[in-house]
């Protein structure tokens, strides 16, 4: 499991002050998602960037390798489906996600 920056309450700094800006970036909100994840079909995508700007969890970000496209980050996506609903070309669709793909093999398997 990745270091999510979580620590016991006894280690909190004085006054509960946050000492590291944006430390929530280490927190894995992707495991709130269940069973499905969005996939963009780049053949249909018109590079409008709407998925990036309307994602409440900032799971989409500009792709450094393919200009104009946006990559999806499984670490933050909570699976709300706003990108599917709002995509003007319906280029995004659900794909089934197995629990073992996300967490590794289940206990006893």
């Amino acid at each position: 499991m990745a270091d999510e920056g979580l620590f016991p309450w006894k280690d909190l700094p004085l006054g509960c002050a946050g000492t590291e800006p944006g430390s929530s970036r280490r927190f894995n909100t992707g495991d709130w998602r269940s069973r499905r994840y969005p996939v963009t079909d780049r053949e249909v995508c018109i590079k409008c960037g709407l998925c990036w700007i309307i994602c409440p969890d900032m799971a989409y970000s500009p792709d450094p390798e393919a200009e104009g496209y946006y990559t999806w980050d499984s670490y933050y996506c909570k699976g709300c489906g706003i990108c599917l609903e709002e995509c003007p070309k319906d280029a995004i669709s659900w794909k089934e996600e197995k629990e073992e793909d996300k967490y590794g093999p289940a206990c006893g398997a």
Binding site: G5, L6, F7, L12, G18, E20, P21, G22, S23, S24, R25, R26, F27, N28, T29, W32, C48, G49, I53, I54, C55, P56, D57, M58, A59, P62, D73, Y76, K78, G79, C80, G81, I82, L84, E85, E86
Partner: protein, 318 residues
Amino acid sequence: MISAAEALQDFKKITPKTIPLVEPFSKGHRACQGCGEVLALRLAAKAVGMDMIAVSATGCMEIISSSYQTAWETPWIHVAFENAAAVASGVEAGRKALIRKGRIKDNGSKIVAFAGDGATADIGLQALSGALERGHDFTYICLDNEAYMNTGIQRSSSTPFGAMTTTSPPGKISKGQMTWKKNMPMIAAAHNIPYVATASPAWHVDLMNKVKKAVTIPGPAYIHIYSPCPTGWRCPPETSIETARKVVQSKVFPLFEVIDGQFILTRDIKKPIPVEEYLKTQRRFSHLGPEDIAYIQKRVDADWDRLLKLVQATNPEA
């Protein structure tokens, strides 16, 4: 002090091609699936940029951004429910004094207070009114999700008529919330402050431009952002943007700005959709009968006509 119209003379609008890439509100926050409020907060923070001092009243956006880790990349202070505006004015006055004494350099930081509808319309109203009246240079952003969602969906004075909440349950003698929604933007506009606006996350460029205008203008500014809450409104998480669009198209939440007392309608609704279209996707309104919907429609139309008259009276050229 220069007027708002003068301050906006060489205002550079944000266009879909020039959306800022910075994220002063970072990833990994703990908002619910499909939260419209955190989207509104993210867009507002993007428009302000990294030179922001954020003041958060207690509420959803404070809880989800600051439990053990912080989602803020900028200086941020959490205060109680009732005094976000008072603390923002204190930060502004303190910063001004330190600059005057030469203790810190003026880097052009903007002071922005974020609060929910309960912290704005109910508990923090007198602090907000005082701060607007004293004329501090700050922006107050109300993220209106129409109830106290963070503590478990209790009604606030911003809850619309007929909505089901845990403290306004519908039943044999009750229809949910009994009173009409408090008109906070008009209350802020009545303080004769330079800038008041309403925005919806469904029009993200419009929202960012309004926030940018508010921080550009010297003096207090108030922005009321409609923020869908799928958890509290009992609607599917993927429909939160759709709901934010329908509320404007059905005239329930008109988008307007007030610059120096002049009302400007930023989105004229030529072909409105019936209010029922907006109400039916949310389960908090599912108990309403046809006569309740007819009453809401009548009152929404009357409010819209009143706003149009205000636009014509204060802004005859438009």
